[in-house]
C-alpha cells in the first residue's frame, strides 16, 4: 500500500512539481476556530467576502493564494490585530474560538492576543537580550518569579529548537542572531505565553532554504501542542507542513480541504490552476 501511494504521489509530483506527503488518515479533531459568513473591509475597500471556515484543534492549517487575496487579512482577524489599523470594519459574520465570539461583548482584545499568538513575516525580536525577549509576554503580565521565568525560557527555547544554539548567550541582544534564529526566537517568544493558537504570517519568506527547513521541522513538532494557522506563498511549504489547506482568491475562500486533496485533486479549477503554477 505504501508503494502504491508513493507511486501515485510521484506521478502527481511530475505533473504539479510539488511533493505531497504520503496520505495518512487524519480523522477529525474538535473544531477550535469557527468563521461564519465573515465580511471584512478596510474603509471603503472590501477585503474579505463571506468567509466560512472551521479550523480544527492541534492541526496545521495553511492559507494559500496569490498576493492581495485576503489570506493575511483573515489571519490578522483571528487575533484582532486588524483593530490597530484605521477604518477596518467587520461588516457581517463572526469568528468564534472555542465557541466564544471574539468580537463579542466583554471580550478583551488584549486577553485574546495572549491566547492567540502571532509570528510575523519579518522577524521582529525586540532590541533586548534573548532572555528578555522570551519572557516579554510574561513580564507584561506581571510575572517576576526568577526560577519560574528561567524554566519557561528554557522550555520555550527548547520548544523552538533554539536552546542549544543560544543557551550560552541568553543575555546577549536578540538582534545579534541570524535571520532564522531570530524567527525561531520570535516563535519561542510566542509559545512562552502558552497560547492555544499560533498564527504565522509567512514566517519563512525572508529566510534561506536551510533556515526555512528548520522552521518547517519546528512547525511539525509544535502541532502536537498548538493549533497553528500559517499563511504562505510557498506552495511546497503548504504541502510539506500543513494538514489542511484553504485557498483564497480575490477575498473569497475558493476551496478548503485536506492538503493532499487540494494539491492532488482540487475540486475547483481555479485552485488547480493556482497549485499547478499557471497563475499567481
Amino acid at each position: 500500500m505504501v508503494t502504491a501511494t508513493t507511486q501515485r504521489s510521484m506521478a502527481t509530483s511530475t505533473l504539479f512539481a510539488i511533493k505531497v506527503p504520503p496520505s495518512q488518515d487524519l480523522g477529525t479533531n474538535r473544531t477550535l476556530i469557527e468563521i461564519e459568513n465573515l465580511d471584512f473591509s478596510y474603509g471603503p475597500k472590501q477585503a474579505l467576502y463571506d468567509i466560512n471556515l472551521k479550523l480544527e484543534e492541534k492541526r496545521v492549517t495553511a492559507f494559500i493564494g496569490p498576493s492581495g487575496c485576503g489570506k493575511t487579512t483573515l489571519l490578522r482577524c483571528l487575533n484582532r490585530m486588524n483593530d490597530l489599523i484605521d477604518g477596518t470594519v467587520i461588516g457581517r459574520g463572526s469568528i468564534r474560538i472555542n465557541g466564544v465570539d471574539i468580537h463579542g461583548r466583554g471580550v478583551d482584545s488584549i486577553e485574546l492576543r495572549k491566547r492567540v499568538g502571532m509570528v510575523f513575516q519579518k522577524s521582529n525580536p525586540f532590541p533586548k537580550s534573548i532572555y528578555e525577549n522570551v519572557i516579554y509576554g510574561l513580564r507584561i503580565q506581571g510575572e517576576n518569579d526568577k526560577t519560574r521565568l528561567d524554566a519557561i525560557v528554557e522550555k520555550s527555547l527548547r520548544g523552538a529548537a533554539l536552546w542549544d544554539e543560544v543557551k550560552d548567550r541568553l543575555h546577549e541582544s536578540g538582534l545579534g542572531l541570524s535571520g532564522g534564529q531570530q524567527q525561531r526566537l520570535c516563535i519561542a517568544r510566542a509559545i512562552a505565553v502558552e497560547p492555544e493558537v499560533i498564527l504565522m504570517d509567512e514566517p519563512c519568506s525572508a529566510l534561506d532554504p536551510v533556515a526555512t527547513a528548520k522552521i518547517e521541522e519546528l512547525i511539525q513538532e509544535l502541532r502536537s501542542h498548538f493549533t497553528i494557522v500559517i499563511v504562505t506563498h510557498n506552495m511546497q511549504q503548504a504541502a510539506r507542513c500543513s494538514d489542511r489547506t484553504a485557498f483564497f482568491y480575490l477575498g473569497k475562500l475558493i476551496e478548503y480541504a485536506d492538503t493532499r486533496t487540494i494539491f492532488m485533486k482540487p475540486a475547483n479549477s481555479q485552485t488547480e490552476a493556482y497549485v499547478s503554477g499557471r497563475f499567481g
Binding site: 487575533n79 490585530m81 490597530l84 484605521d86 477604518g87 488584549i110 486577553e111 485574546l112 492576543r113 495572549k114 491566547r115 499568538g117 502571532m118 510575523f120 519579518k122 521582529n124 525580536p125 525586540f126 532590541p127 516579554y136 509576554g137 513580564r139 507584561i140 503580565q141 538582534l175 520570535c186 517568544r189 510566542a190 505565553v193
Partner: protein
C-alpha cells in the same frame, strides 16, 4: 586626426568650462555663508575672551562669572587713571575722605564718569537663563512628548488629528515677539502673574512646543513597527507596548532633538522681554521670603542683558568689555548646546539602525 570624429569624444571645452564655473559659483556661495558665520563667532570669541579669560591664575575671570552687574566709575587720581566698580568706588571715596580728614586736607572730590552695568559680572543673568531654560523645557517636554505619543501611537487619522497637526505647523511659524505679546496678555495681565519666572516658562514652553512635538514624532516614527506589533501580539496593552517597547528606543532621539529646543529657548529674547526679564535685579532668585514667591519673581537673563548693554549704554572701551564678555558667555553656552545636539544626533544615527 580629428578628436571629434569618434562618437565618444569629450565634450566641447566651453561646455566643461561653463560647468566648472557654475560649480565654483555654488561652492563660493556655500563657503561665503560659512565665512560669515565664522566671522561672527570669531569676532565675539576673540574679543570676548579678553573679558572672560586672563593671563594669570586662575586664567578665568571668576568675578565676571560670579558677581552681579555694577556701574563702572572712571576717574583720574594722582595722575593715574582709575577704574572702579560701584562698591569699590564708594569704599575708595570714603577711605580717601577719612585719610584727608586725618591729614587735615580738604576732602577730595572725584569727578568720575560712570557707565552702568560695565563693572562686576553677569552671575544673576546666568542663573536666570538656566532657570528659564530648565522650567520651560520641563513643561515643553511633558506637553510635547505626550502630544507626539498621542499623534503617533494612538490617534487615528481623521479631521481631529489633521487639525492638531495644522495647529502645530502654524504654531511653528508664529514670530517669537507674538508669543511675547501673547504671554504678556495671558499670563502677565489676565492671570495676573506679573513679570515672573512662571510667565516666562509658559511663554517659552509654548514657543518651542512645535519643535518638540515634531522632533518627538520623528523619533517615535523611527522605532520599527515590528516592535509594536510583536508586543501587541503577545497580549501587551497599548500603554505597556509604548512604555516597554517604544519609548525606550525613541527617548534618545527625543532628547537629542530637544536639545535644539533648548538652544532656541536659551537664545530667544523677544518672548521674555515683557514676561520674565528684568533689566536689573539685586536679589538672586533663591533669596525669596516664601517658596511661592519663587515662581512669581522676574529674573535677569543673558539674552536680555545683551540687549540692554548693547542698546542702552554707549559704545566705548569701557562698555565693550561687558558687552563682549556677556555675548561670549552666552554664545558659548548656546553653541555648546547646539554642538552637543549635532554630535549626539550623528552618533544616534549610527547606533540606532534597525
Amino acid at each position: 586626426m580629428s578628436a571629434t570624429a569618434h562618437p565618444f569624444a569629450t565634450r566641447s571645452a566651453r561646455g566643461r568650462q561653463l560647468e566648472r564655473m557654475t560649480f565654483t559659483v555654488f561652492r563660493v556661495a556655500t563657503y561665503f555663508v560659512l565665512l560669515c558665520g565664522l566671522l561672527v563667532f570669531g569676532d565675539i570669541f576673540v574679543k570676548g575672551a579678553h573679558t572672560v579669560f586672563q593671563s594669570e591664575f586662575p586664567y578665568v575671570n571668576v568675578p565676571f562669572l560670579t558677581e552681579a552687574p555694577e556701574s563702572l566709575y572712571v576717574f583720574e587720581h594722582n595722575g593715574k587713571k582709575m577704574e572702579l566698580g560701584d562698591r569699590a568706588f564708594r569704599a575708595f571715596q570714603s577711605s580717601e575722605a577719612a585719610r584727608a580728614r586725618a591729614e587735615n586736607r580738604p576732602v577730595p572730590r572725584f569727578k568720575a564718569e560712570s557707565y552702568v552695568y560695565s563693572a562686576g559680572g553677569i552671575w544673576p543673568c546666568i542663573v536666570g537663563t538656566v532657570l528659564l531654560v530648565v522650567g520651560s523645557m520641563t513643561i515643553a517636554l511633558t506637553l510635547g512628548v505626550s502630544s507626539a505619543i498621542y499623534l503617533n501611537e494612538y490617534a487615528k487619522d481623521g479631521p481631529g488629528v489633521r487639525f492638531i497637526r495644522l495647529a502645530v505647523l502654524n504654531l511653528a511659524g508664529v514670530p517669537s515677539i507674538v508669543f511675547g505679546l501673547f504671554g504678556f496678555g495671558l499670563f502677565v495681565i489676565f492671570l495676573d502673574w506679573n513679570v515672573s519666572l512662571l510667565a516666562g516658562w509658559f511663554t517659552l514652553a509654548f514657543m518651542v512646543l512645535p519643535v518638540i512635538i515634531t522632533a518627538s514624532e520623528e523619533a517615535l516614527k523611527a522605532v520599527p513597527k515590528g516592535f509594536r506589533e510583536g508586543s501587541l501580539a503577545l497580549g501587551a496593552t497599548k500603554w505597556q507596548t509604548i512604555r516597554t517597547n517604544v519609548l525606550p528606543y525613541a527617548l534618545p532621539g527625543v532628547l537629542t532633538s530637544s536639545i535644539l529646543g533648548i538652544a532656541r529657548v536659551a537664545g530667544e529674547t523677544a518672548p521674555i522681554m515683557f514676561t520674565a526679564a528684568y533689566v536689573v535685579r539685586d536679589k538672586l532668585p533663591w533669596e525669596v521670603d516664601r517658596l511661592g514667591d519663587f515662581f512669581f519673581q522676574g529674573v535677569m537673563a543673558l539674552p536680555y542683558h545683551i540687549y540692554v548693554v548693547s542698546s542702552k549704554i554707549p559704545q566705548n572701551e569701557y562698555t565693550a568689555r561687558v558687552q563682549y564678555g556677556t555675548a561670549f558667555v552666552f554664545l558659548f553656552i548656546v553653541a555648546l548646546i547646539a554642538l552637543a545636539s549635532i554630535v549626539f544626533r550623528n552618533r544616534m544615527r549610527r547606533i540606532y539602525k534597525w
